[in-house]
C-alpha cells in the first residue's frame, strides 16, 4: 500500500505532529513500508476468533471510592513550561 501527500497530511493532523513539506516523501515511503508489513495479516483466517485485549483476560479492578492522592499541584507544576497562579498557560484560544 502506498500513501500519498494527502494521506500524510491527514495522518499528521490525526497525530498532531507537524510534517514539513520536504519531509513528506520520506515519511510517506517509510509509513507505506510499515503498512506493507501489516498486509501480511490479511491472509490469516480469523473467522470466529475473539479479539484479545489483555493477555490474562482480566477485567478492570475496582476499589472503594475514597480519597487517596492528595493535592500536589505546586510540585507537579514545577516541570510545566509556563504557569501562572496555578494555571497552565497556552496561546490565546478565544478571540
Amino acid at each position: 500500500m502506498s500513501l500519498g501527500k494527502t494521506e500524510v497530511e491527514n495522518i499528521s493532523r490525526l497525530a498532531a505532529i507537524a510534517v514539513e513539506k520536504h519531509e513528506v516523501d520520506e515519511v510517506a515511503a517509510k509509513l507505506s513500508n510499515i503498512l506493507d508489513l501489516f498486509s501480511q495479516m490479511e491472509a490469516a483466517n480469523t473467522d470466529g476468533v475473539e479479539p484479545m485485549a489483555h493477555p490474562l483476560d482480566q477485567v478492570q479492578r475496582l476499589r472503594p471510592d475514597v480519597v487517596t492522592a492528595t493535592n500536589q499541584r505546586e510540585k507537579l507544576q514545577t516541570v510545566a513550561p509556563s504557569t501562572d497562579n496555578g494555571l497552565y498557560l497556552v496561546p490565546q484560544v478565544i478571540e
Binding site: 507537524a18 510499515i34 493477555p55 510540585k75 507537579l76
Partner: protein, 484 residues
C-alpha cells in the same frame, strides 16, 4: 570488587569486609573511567548514590539489612526517579525532573540499593538497537562497532562492562531479552502484570513489563523478588501473594520437558546462532531434561500484529506530550494547534513519530477493523499457540534473536528490517508470558543468548533452569578484556 557475584558482595557487606560506600564509589570510578566511550548512562547521580550508600551502611551496621541492601543499581531512564532527570532518552523529556518515584524504584529504595544513575535506551523504548536515543547510541562493550541491542541497551551494556552490578529494564517486544542476548548477560521479562507499571513512562501498556538485568540467574531471582508484587496504583497489576523467585533455583532438571518449536529454527536464523542454541539445549538435556518437538504455527503473524497494536497504544499514550503540562514546548507558537504540532514534531525523534503516526492511522475511521481488530484476533491466535504447546512441554527453548549484535548504523535506514529482527521475542509479549535470555556462547566475539519461555507465573522455573545451566557453563561470567 566488580568481579564478585552479588552473593559474594552481599556476604562481604554483611561481614563488614567492605562498605556500601566503598562499593558504590568503586562503580562510580569505573563509570567516570569508561562511560565516555560506551555512552551507556544518560545521567550519573554520584551524590545521591553515596548518600544512599551511607544509609545502607548504617542499616547493615544495625543488623537489619536484606540480601541486596548496599548493592548499587542503575535504572533505565524510563523509570521515574524523584528529583532526578527522567528523559526516556527523548528531547521531549530532556528537561523533565520526575516529581515522584516509579513503584519499582520505591521497592528497590526500600531494600537499600544506591542509585548510580539512569541508563540510555531507544527513545521511548521504541527500537531494538538503542540508536534512536536523543543522547546518541550506546556501544556494545564486546565490540564498539556493534549495537548493544534495545531498547534497554544501556542497561545491558553497564552490566556487561561492570559499570553497575544490577540494572532495571523494561520489555515491550523484547527490550530486556534481546539486549541481554547481544551483551552476554541474563535478563528476564516476567509475566505481564507481575511488576507494577506505575511510574514507568508508558509505551504500549498492554505489553510493557519491567524486569531485572544482571550477570546471573541467581542475581535476577533476588532482584525480581524485590521488584515484583501487587501495586494498587497500576490497574493491570495482578493481585497475587508475594513470591520468592529464588525458591526453586537448586531444583534438579530431571524430567523437565523442553519444547523446541520447529518454526523457531527456520529461514533467517544465522546458522552459527542455531549451533550455539542447540548446544545449550543439549547441555540442558544432559541434566536429565527431555526434548519434545512443539509447534507455534502462527509465529509469522506476531510481528505485523505487534506493530499494529503497540503503535496504536503508543499513539494514545504519547498524546500526553502536548507542550502544555510538561516536556518540550516550541518557541513562539502561533496558536494552540501550532503549539501541539510543533512541540511534538520538535520533541520526538523520527522512529517515535513514525510509530505514533502509524498507530493513529491504524485506529482511524475506516481502518480499525482491518488493522486493530484483526491484530487483536491474531494476538489471541498467537497466545493459543503457546497454550497448546504447553500441553506437551514445561518450557519452550529457542533463539532470542536471529543474529548476534548487528553493526551500528546497519539497520537505521530500514525500520521494517529492524522490526523483523524481533520475531522470536514479540510472540511472548503478545501472549504476556515470562521469558528469559541466558548467555550461551559467542559468534565472532559477539554474545548469543538462549531464550527460555514458560507458562504464566513460571518465572521461578525459568530462573531454576537458567541457574542450573549456569552451574555447568561459564558464559555468564565472561567480561570483555578491556573492562575486566
Amino acid at each position: 570488587m566488580h568481579n564478585l557475584t552479588i552473593k559474594q558482595m552481599s556476604e562481604k557487606l554483611q561481614a563488614g569486609e567492605i562498605t556500601s560506600v566503598q562499593l558504590t564509589q568503586h562503580y562510580l570510578d569505573r563509570i567516570s573511567k569508561y562511560d565516555s566511550e560506551l555512552n551507556a548512562y544518560v545521567t550519573v547521580t554520584p551524590e545521591l548514590a553515596i548518600s544512599m550508600a551511607e544509609e545502607a551502611d548504617k542499616r547493615i551496621a544495625a543488623g537489619n539489612a536484606e540480601l541486596l541492601t548496599g548493592i548499587p543499581i542503575a535504572h533505565k531512564d524510563i523509570f521515574c526517579t524523584d528529583g532526578v532527570k527522567t528523559s526516556c532518552s527523548s528531547k521531549m523529556l530532556d528537561n523533565f525532573i520526575a516529581p515522584y518515584d516509579a513503584h519499582v524504584v520505591t521497592q528497590l529504595k526500600k531494600v537499600g540499593m544506591p542509585i548510580l544513575g539512569k541508563t540510555n535506551m531507544d527513545e521511548f523504548a521504541m527500537g531494538s538497537s538503542s540508536e534512536s536515543s536523543y543522547y546518541g547510541p550506546t556501544k556494545n562493550p564486546w565490540d564498539h562497532k556493534a549495537v548493544p541491542g534495545g531498547s534497554s541497551g544501556g542497561a545491558a551494556a553497564v552490566i556487561a562492562a561492570c559499570l553497575a552490578p544490577m540494572a532495571t529494564g523494561t520489555d515491550t517486544g523484547g527490550s530486556i531479552r534481546q539486549p541481554a542476548s547481544f551483551c552476554g548477560i541474563t535478563g528476564i521479562k516476567p509475566t505481564y502484570g507481575s511488576v507494577s507499571r506505575f511510574g514507568i513512562v508508558a509505551y504500549a501498556s498492554s505489553f510493557d513489563q519491567a524486569g531485572p538485568m544482571t550477570r546471573s540467574a541467581e542475581d535476577s531471582a533476588w532482584m525480581l523478588t524485590a521488584m515484583a508484587g501487587f501495586d494498587e496504583r497500576d490497574s493491570t497489576s495482578l493481585q497475587r501473594d508475594a513470591v520468592d523467585y529464588s525458591a526453586e533455583l537448586t531444583n534438579s532438571l530431571k524430567g523437565l520437558k523442553v519444547g523446541v518449536p520447529a518454526e523457531y529454527f527456520g529461514e533467517g536464523l544465522d546458522p552459527d546462532v542455531e549451533t550455539l542454541v542447540r548446544a545449550a539445549i543439549a547441555e540442558i538435556e544432559k541434566q536429565g531434561a527431555e526434548i519434545v518437538e512443539v509447534h507455534l504455527p502462527n509465529k509469522d503473524l506476531a510481528v505485523p500484529s505487534y506493530y499494529v497494536l503497540a503503535p496504536a497504544e503508543a499513539s494514545s499514550n504519547l498524546s500526553r506530550y502536548d507542550g502544555v503540562r510538561f516536556g518540550h514546548r516550541c518557541d513562539n507558537p502561533k496558536n494552540l494547534q501550532d503549539l501541539y504540532e510543533r512541540s511534538r514534531s520538535e520533541g520526538f525523534g523520527a522512529e517515535v513519530k513514525r510509530r505514533i503516526m502509524v498507530g493513529a492511522y491504524a485506529l482511524s475511521t475506516g481502518f480499525y477493523d482491518a488493522y486493530y481488530l484483526k491484530a487483536q484476533k491474531l494476538r489471541r491466535m498467537v497466545r493459543d499457540d503457546f497454550t497448546n504447546a504447553f500441553e506437551h512441554c514445561d518450557v519452550i527453548m529457542g533463539p532470542v534473536a536471529p543474529t548476534p549484535a548487528f553493526n551500528i548504523g546497519e539497520k537505521t535506514d530500514d525500520p521494517t528490517s529492524m522490526y523483523l529482527a524481533d520475531l522470536y521475542t514479540i510472540p511472548v509479549n503478545l501472549a504476556g508470558l515470562p521469558g528469559i535470555s541466558v548467555p550461551a556462547g559467542f559468534v565472532n566475539q559477539r554474545p548469543v543468548g538462549l531464550h527460555i519461555v514458560g507458562p504464566y507465573f513460571s518465572e521461578a522455573k525459568l530462573l531454576n533452569i537458567a541457574h542450573q545451566y549456569q552451574q555447568v557453563t561459564d558464559w555468564h561470567t565472561k567480561t570483555p578484556a578491556q573492562y575486566q
